[in-house]
C-alpha cells in the first residue's frame, strides 16, 4: 500500500528566509504523527504545505499518490483527501454549526441538502455536540467550536487529517474535550498529522514523533524512545523546557 504522505527533499522559503530545509518524511496509512518543536521551527508551515495552503519551492510532496504540483486539478484532488483543523477554529461566523458542516459536501461534492445534513449530524454526533447544530459559532465555547471544526473537516470524509495546534487557543479546561475527540478519531484508524505541544497526547496517541527546529527535522522517533532516550541535544533541551 502506498504511503499516505511522502515528502522528499522539500525546501521552502518565505522571501529569503529558509523556513523548511530539506525535509524528508513518509507517513504510512493509518499512522499518527505528532510534529513538535519550538515556535518558528517550521512545523505549522510543514503541515500547511501538505494541503497546499503553503506552496513549497523545491522537492516532492505526494498525498495519497497525487503529487502536489502546479498542474491543474492536483491541488483540488489533494484537498479532497485532506481535512484540516486550525488553531483559531476558523468556523464561518455567519453560518450555523450545521451550515458550516454542510457547505462543502453540498458544493464540492454536490450532495443533496438532506443527505449533507444527515451526514453533518452524524459527525456532530461523533464529536458529541449534535444539540448545538442550529446555533451560530459565536454562541459556543472555544472547545465546542474546535469540535465543530473537527466535525466540519470530517464531513468531507478525508483520508488524512491535519491538526495545526488545535488546542493552543483554548482555555485549559477545554483542552481535554478536544483531545478526547482527537483520541477517538485516532481509534478509527484515521491518518493524522498533529502539530501540538500536548506531550501527553503525543505519548499516548502518536506512532512517531517528529521534532523540528530551525526548519529542519532534527529527530524522528516512537514516543517511548523520544521521551526516554532522545538522541539529539536540541531535543533534550526542548523536552527539558516543555516537560519541566
Amino acid at each position: 500500500m502506498t504511503n499516505a504522505v511522502e515528502i522528499s527533499s522539500l525546501n521552502k522559503w518565505f522571501k529569503n528566509f529558509h523556513v523548511l530545509k530539506d525535509i524528508n518524511l513518509n507517513v504510512a496509512q493509518g499512522e499518527r504523527v505528532v510534529v513538535c518543536g519550538p515556535s518558528g521551527s517550521g512545523k505549522s508551515t510543514l503541515i500547511r504545505c501538505i494541503n497546499g495552503l503553503e506552496r513549497h519551492q523545491e522537492g516532492k510532496l505526494t498525498v495519497e499518490g497525487v503529487e502536489l504540483s502546479e498542474e491543474i486539478g492536483h491541488i483540488e484532488a489533494v484537498r479532497a483527501n485532506v481535512g484540516m483543523v486550525f488553531q483559531q477554529f476558523n468556523l464561518f461566523p455567519h453560518l450555523t454549526v450545521l451550515e458550516n458542516c454542510t457547505l462543502a459536501p453540498m458544493w464540492v461534492k454536490r450532495m443533496p441538502k438532506a443527505k449533507a445534513e444527515a451526514l453533518a449530524m452524524q459527525y456532530l454526533d461523533r464529536v458529541h455536540i449534535p444539540e448545538q447544530a442550529l446555533k451560530y459559532p459565536g454562541q459556543l465555547s472555544g472547545g465546542q467550536q474546535q469540535r465543530v471544526a473537527i466535525a466540519r473537516a470530517l464531513t468531507m470524509e478525508p483520508r488524512i487529517m491535519l491538526f495545526d495546534e488545535p488546542t493552543s487557543a483554548l482555555d485549559p479546561e477545554m483542552i481535554k474535550e478536544v483531545l478526547e475527540t482527537m483520541v477517538e478519531l485516532a481509534e478509527t484508524g484515521m491518518t493524522m498529522l498533529v502539530v501540538t505541544h500536548e506531550m501527553g497526547f503525543a505519548r499516548t496517541v502518536a506512532n512517531r514523533i517528529v521534532f523540528m527546529d530551525m526548519g529542519e527535522i532534527v529527530e524522528i522517533a516512537p514516543p517511548d524512545e523520544f521521551f526516554t532516550a532522545p538522541k539529539s541535544e536540541r531535543t533534550k533541551e526542548f523536552l527539558s523546557q516543555i516537560l519541566r
Binding site: 483540488e76 484540516m84 464561518f92 461566523p93 459565536g138 466540519r152
Partner: protein, 362 residues
C-alpha cells in the same frame, strides 16, 4: 456559598434632576445649552413660521401668494405636482409611469418588510424581470405608444437614474473589488486602472463626456439618457468597489484558508464564505454610497434633463407663478422629498444590520 441576588435598584432621576445633570451641570455646560437653544430659536422657529404658519395653502396662481411675502407658496407645488412626478411625460400616458412606480414600490415593500413569504423569488423577479417590464412601460413598444426619453423628468427621472445606478453599481463594484485583490496581473491591473480613473474624474465631467463628447468621438448616436445611465453606473461602481474592498480586507485570512482547505473553489468561497461577511461589514458604507448616488442624480440637469430638482427649478421661472417665495418653496419641497427617501434608506440599512448581525457575536 453566597446566594445570587438581583442587582441593586436603579433610581431614575426626575425631569428637573435630569436637566440639572445633563444640561446644566456646570457653567460651561449651561452656556452651551443656552447657546444651542438660541440657535434653535433663530433657525427652527422662523422656518416653521415661513413654511406653515404664514404659508399660503390654496390658490390658483401668483396672485394667491403675492399678498403673503413671508410665507411659503404651496399652491405652486400642488399645481405643478404632475410635472414634478412625471416631467413632460404625455398626460394621457402617465398611467404607465404609475404602474411602473407602483410595481417598484410593491416589489421593494415585499422584499424589505419582515416576514413576507418567497422573498427570494420576488427579489429575483425584481432584478431580472422588472427592469424590462418597466422599460417597456416607460419607453413604449409592444403596442404602447413611444415616449421619447427627452420627455421623462421629475421624480420619475430621479428614480430611473438612481435605481439604475444602485442596481448596477453593487455587482460591478463587487467584481471590481475582487479584481483589485486578484493575483492575476491583468485582472488586477484593469480593476485598479478602472477604479482610479473613474474616481479621479468629477461626475459632472463624466456626464458631459457621456452626453456630448462620446457621440462626437465615437460617432454613434447613442440615446443620451442611456449614455448618462451607463456613466452614472460605472462612476458609482468605482466608489462601490472601494467600499466593498474595505469589507473584504476586514475578513481574517483564516476564513479564506478554511474555505480553501475544504476544497471550495475561489468563486464558491467568495460567494458563500467571504462576501456575505464582507458585505455585512461594508453595509453602512454601501448604503452611504447609495444615498450619495441618489442625491447626485440632480447633476443630470446639467446635460439637459429635468430631474426632481431641475423640474421644480424650471417651474419656478414660470411668470404665472413669479413670487419671491416660489423658488424657495420648491427647494424646500425637493429637499423634503430627498430627505424622506434618503432617511428611509438609512433606517432600513440600520434595521438590516441588526438582522444580519443575529448570532454573530465573535
Amino acid at each position: 456559598m453566597t446566594a445570587s441576588r438581583l442587582p441593586p435598584r436603579v433610581i431614575l432621576p426626575g425631569p428637573i434632576e435630569w436637566l440639572r445633570e445633563n444640561l446644566f451641570s456646570s457653567w460651561g455646560n449651561s452656556a452651551l445649552t443656552l447657546l444651542a437653544l438660541a440657535f434653535l430659536y433663530w433657525t427652527v422657529v422662523p422656518f416653521v413660521q415661513w413654511a406653515f404658519v404664514d404659508a399660503v395653502w390654496v390658490g390658483a396662481g401668483r396672485d394667491a401668494c403675492l399678498p403673503y411675502p413671508d410665507g411659503a407658496c404651496w399652491p405652486f407645488i400642488s399645481a405643478r405636482m404632475g410635472q414634478i412626478i412625471y416631467g413632460f411625460y404625455d398626460v394621457a400616458e402617465r398611467w404607465r409611469v404609475d404602474f411602473a412606480l407602483m410595481g417598484l414600490a410593491f416589489g421593494l415593500l415585499w422584499v424589505t418588510l419582515p416576514g413576507m413569504p418567497a422573498k427570494g423569488s420576488v427579489g429575483a423577479a425584481m432584478v431580472l424581470v422588472y427592469p424590462f417590464v418597466a422599460f417597456v412601460l416607460l419607453a413604449g413598444g409592444f403596442g404602447l405608444e413611444q415616449v421619447p426619453t427627452t420627455r421623462w423628468g421629475g421624480l420619475l427621472m430621479t428614480l430611473v437614474v438612481a435605481i439604475t445606478g444602485i442596481v448596477a453599481s453593487l455587482p460591478i463594484g463587487i467584481l471590481l473589488a475582487l479584481g483589485r485583490r486578484s493575483e492575476l496581473p491583468v485582472v488586477k491591473g484593469f480593476s485598479v486602472a478602472f477604479i482610479e480613473l473613474w474616481r479621479g474624474v468629477p461626475l459632472v465631467t463624466v456626464l458631459f463626456m457621456a452626453a456630448n463628447m462620446l457621440p462626437l468621438f465615437v460617432g454613434l448616436s447613442i440615446n443620451k439618457l442611456l449614455a448618462a445611465l451607463i456613466a452614472v453606473a460605472l462612476f458609482s461602481s468605482a466608489y462601490m468597489a472601494e467600499v466593498v474592498r474595505g469589507g473584504l480586507q476586514a475578513i481574517p485570512k483564516g476564513q479564506y484558508e478554511a474555505a480553501a482547505a475544504m476544497g471550495l473553489s475561489y468563486w464558491q468561497s467568495m460567494l458563500f464564505v467571504i462576501l456575505p461577511q464582507a458585505l455585512r461589514l461594508a453595509l453602512p458604507n454601501i448604503v452611504g454610497n447609495f444615498i450619495g448616488l441618489l442625491k447626485d442624480t440632480s447633476l443630470i440637469s446639467i446635460i439637459g434633463f429635468f430631474d426632481l430638482l431641475g423640474i421644480v427649478q424650471a417651474g419656478a421661472t414660470d411668470p404665472a407663478w413669479a413670487t419671491p417665495n416660489t423658488a424657495l418653496t420648491g427647494y424646500a419641497f425637493v429637499g423634503a422629498v430627498f430627505w424622506a427617501m434618503c432617511f428611509s434608506m438609512s433606517r432600513y440599512a440600520k434595521h438590516m444590520e441588526g438582522v444580519l448581525g443575529a448570532g454573530e457575536r465573535r
